[in-house]
């Protein structure tokens, strides 16, 4: 197949995206890098379109901000793969595609003769990516899992939250994003291999395993030390000390912790600022470069943390961040969405993108591309309406007549 050289790195490639809300991110990433990602929705629209919040709080399918968040840069066609015509159309599309992403329960695609073995017959170059909670194989492959269950089973909840409450999670779903990014990475690794061999393959992604990778060394702590990593709120357990990581300040919270040893200079930088305001109390005499968590007593350590805590309360997030930058202190604000929109660094880097939507008076401000490249300028294009590109694909590309399209619509195929 002759590929055309185009401006973005993945412009020559086509992706069929049959995922639901568990797999949107994979296609979004590939689309952002230029791939022609076609979101294939059931005729009534994707299930993820029912997930809020909604534009202006009006609950309708084309106003789902969740769907709009993770389907940018994609095209959309409607297709019911449970019908015989639907399957034939999908197979025709597969012939001309480079990737297919799906997140149905294991075995669902096979039931319709659309499993990897079947599709490989049609296009041996195809890379098929399957994203499921637990993977395509194993004793739990058919288990159900929502975000809270995957975050729990992946080891993150156990270390999140305070000891006097149940284990917690980020209340904006994250598991599908970890799985989606891993899926895109798997797809690209398979693609690199295909470029030299012409061979496609099946990428079988487990979201649970993807979540485990964010649990840092929780499994290794058990394997090496028989240590169960505790849940300690905004603290870090280190050598029997509770190293505080989150601090209230005048107008919110900041993230900072005491360092010793090689990083002790960073702690000293803060103490010097405190001295200049006469608020260092007895911290000036501590030799931070020589301090280590192991040898300091818990009482002394807690006392230091109290002094730092008093200081933070006398300044705003902005003041603290400004001095942190000029003095070399490792400190970040606890940002709210509003803080992020006003974040000077993001503004300077032109991170935010204005995205126009039909029927909306004002463009929607979106988080920008995943990275910057010396060769490309990536952009965010709006998510598609339900079946917005049916004509482009079905009529112009596949050559269906208006009469045939009317029949397919009547039979709820498209």
């Amino acid at each position: 197949m002759a590929k055309q050289i185009s401006y973005l790195p993945l412009s020559p490639y086509r992706v069929l995206d049959l995922t639901n809300e568990m797999g949107y991110f994979c296609g979004k990433i590939l689309a952002e890098l230029g791939a022609d990602v076609i979101k294939i929705e059931p005729p009534e629209g994707d299930s993820g379109r029912n997930i809020g919040p909604f534009i202006n709080d009006i609950p309708k399918k084309e106003g789902s901000l969740f769907f709009l968040a993770y389907n940018t840069n994609k095209r959309s066609i409607t297709l019911n793969i449970e019908t015989s015509d639907g399957r034939e159309i999908l197979k025709r599309l597969v012939k001309k595609s480079d990737f297919l992403i799906e997140s149905y329960p294991p075995g669902y695609m096979n039931k319709f003769g659309l499993g990897y073995e079947d599709l490989r017959e049609i296009n041996s170059r195809l890379i098929m990516v399957s994203i499921t909670p637990f993977g395509q194989t194993g004793p739990r492959k058919d288990w159900k899992a929502s975000d809270i269950v995957l975050i729990a089973m992946g080891g993150l909840s156990h270390i999140t939250g305070s000891p006097d409450r149940p284990p917690a999670r980020v209340c904006i779903d994250q598991a599908h994003l970890m799985g989606g990014a891993q899926a895109a990475m798997g797809a690209m690794i398979a693609h690199y291999y295909r470029q030299s061999t012409g061979r496609g393959q099946h990428v079988d992604v487990s979201i649970q395993e993807s979540v485990v990778l964010s649990a840092l060394t929780v499994p290794q702590a058990w394997d090496l030390e028989r240590f169960i990593w505790p849940r300690v709120g905004g603290y870090l357990p280190r050598s029997g000390k509770r190293v505080r990581c989150l601090w209230p300040c005048k107008d919110g919270y900041v993230a900072w912790r005491i360092f010793g040893g090689g990083l002790g200079v960073k702690t000293r930088a803060l103490v010097e600022w405190m001295e200049s305001e006469g608020k260092a109390e007895d911290l000036s005499k501590v030799e931070w470069e020589k301090m280590d968590y192991l040898s300091v007593s818990p009482e002394e350590f807690d006392h230091w943390q109290e002094v730092f805590g008093r200081f933070f309360k006398t300044h705003t997030k902005e003041e603290l961040c400004k001095e942190a930058l000029s003095r070399g202190i490792v400190l970040f604000p606890v940002s709210t969405p509003k803080d992020l929109i006003e974040d000077n660094q993001l503004i300077y880097r032109e991170y935010w993108k204005e995205v126009e939507y039909p029927g909306l008076e004002f463009p929607i401000k979106y988080p920008g591309p995943l990275f910057k490249s010396s060769e490309f300028s990536f952009e965010i294009r709006r998510a598609p309406l339900i079946g917005e590109h049916n004509l482009e694909i079905y009529e112009e590309e596949l050559g269906f007549s208006k009469e045939e399209l009317a029949i397919l619509k009547h039979n709820r195929v498209i």
Binding site: C171, M185, G186, D204, E225, P337, F371
Partner: protein, 406 residues
């Protein structure tokens, strides 16, 4: 095993440290790429000093934290502050397709003359990735930072915990683990572009910017509807019950989520409480939402006498999304993870056999595999110089004596 690996002709010069950088080359190494991990003996990767340690005993070659992000790599010791050290670095870069680094922005150029523009002069098609907390440009590019703090600036802390408590944060450096896959994707896309055009490129990855994309629905809720949202415990707008419930034993918990009437009826059946199905407080989704606190109490009164695993199995059998809040031991013993061969057990010269995370996906034709434990500090310096860079033994010894490999 000598099956072909997907990336086996790919070569990486890895100048990075801590977690966010070394994970990038690790993912490539798991699928066959050759990675030279450059460290120095006088200033080794700080990660080597971070727990857990084998048997709890600290040591430069005993950190499980370092080990877990450096499998399948060659460990090279190189003193970049020695002029001849920079020459050796250049030879490694000439050999490589990819350079990865995550120093404070500008360090590669300022300290060693190895910025992208300088490298391009002797290796025009190099693909270079710089990963940093806030990006290479902008007023705060020089702000130092670690993942544990950066998650807060990324917005995650705002959405964790309970509104009546101080913030608790996520407890793990999330940005360190979610950004490396994006860098790998960027690299592989750049390689495809290089194949077509012969051109390399420079990739500037701001960990903060990747992180914010992970909260896009919440950002849009603010930019469109003007609401900032807040931490809401374990609640979910479309599910009730939806939470983490105490089970029998010490610190044992099970997550349960019920999204519709049929799951609710199934849950009541498992509880042996069919009366709740018709109880007006809980018979509809909206009524369950209105009486959620009471609902949670009823559920927890039942779960606290059951073993978490047993509860999970019974609920899953009934078609309900439920899962144990797994700790490290649970993960290591998880039958599904074992079936998937998630953990790889590699024998390390000082640590013995220990568990490493492997890729969370299986490629049907070229599955990733872990073959080498993390290197001891400078373990492969001689191998890299003589076998990969083709140095003569005489030259190697001369450089060694000069202190280039310290």
């Amino acid at each position: 095993m000598d099956e072909k690996q997907a990336l086996e002709d790919l070569k990486i010069a890895d100048f990075s440290w801590y977690i966010a950088g070394p994970s990038i080359s690790m993912w490539l190494a798991h699928h066959g790429a050759q990675v030279i991990r450059i460290e120095s003996i006088t200033k080794p990767d700080e990660l080597r000093g971070i727990e857990p340690f084998k048997d709890g005993i600290a040591g430069i070659n005993r950190s499980g934290c370092y080990a877990n992000y450096n499998s399948n790599k060659y460990g090279m010791a190189l003193n970049l502050n020695h002029p001849k050290g920079v020459d050796v670095a250049k030879r490694i870069i000439k050999w490589a397709d990819i350079v990865v680094e995550n120093f404070t922005p500008g360090t590669m150029k300022r300290k060693w003359g190895l910025g992208y523009e300088e490298i391009k002069k002797f290796k025009p098609d190099i693909i270079m990735v710089s990963s940093s907390p806030l990006g290479q440009t902008g007023p705060e590019a020089q702000q130092a930072g670690f993942g544990l703090e950066l998650v807060s600036r990324g917005g995650f802390t705002h959405f964790v915990g309970w509104p009546d408590q101080d913030v608790v944060g996520v407890g793990y450096p999330y940005t360190d683990t979610i950004t490396p896959p994006i860098a790998v994707i960027a690299i592989l896309a750049a390689l495809d572009y290089r194949q077509r055009t012969g051109k390399g490129q420079y990739i500037d990855l701001s960990q903060h910017e990747v992180a914010v994309q992970h909260l896009t629905p919440a950002i849009l809720e603010f930019t469109v509807n003007g609401r900032e949202g807040q931490r809401c415990g374990n609640r979910h707008p479309y599910a009730a019950p939806h939470g983490v419930y105490r089970c029998a034993g010490e610190d044992r918990w099970c997550a349960i989520s019920v999204f519709n009437d049929s799951e609710w009826e199934a849950l009541c059946k498992v509880m042996g409480r069919n009366d709740l199905v018709i109880d007006p407080r809980f018979s509809t989704f909206l009524s369950r939402k209105r009486n959620e606190e009471e609902l949670d109490r009823i559920i927890e009164n039942w779960t606290m006498n059951l073993m978490a695993e047993e509860l999970m199995n019974r609920l899953q059998e009934a078609g309900i999304s439920a899962g144990v809040v797994q700790n490290g031991k649970d993960l290591i013993e998880d039958p599904q993870l074992e079936h998937r061969h998630h953990f790889w057990y590699l024998k390390h010269p000082e640590m013995g056999i220990c568990a490493y995370d492997g890729p969370p996906f299986k490629l049907s034709e070229t599955p990733g595999r872990l073959t080498m434990p993390a290197p001891c500090l400078g373990e492969h310096t001689e191998y890299v110089c003589t076998k990969i860079l083709g140095m003569s033994d005489e030259e190697f010894i001369e450089l060694l004596t000069d202190g280039v490999f310290e």
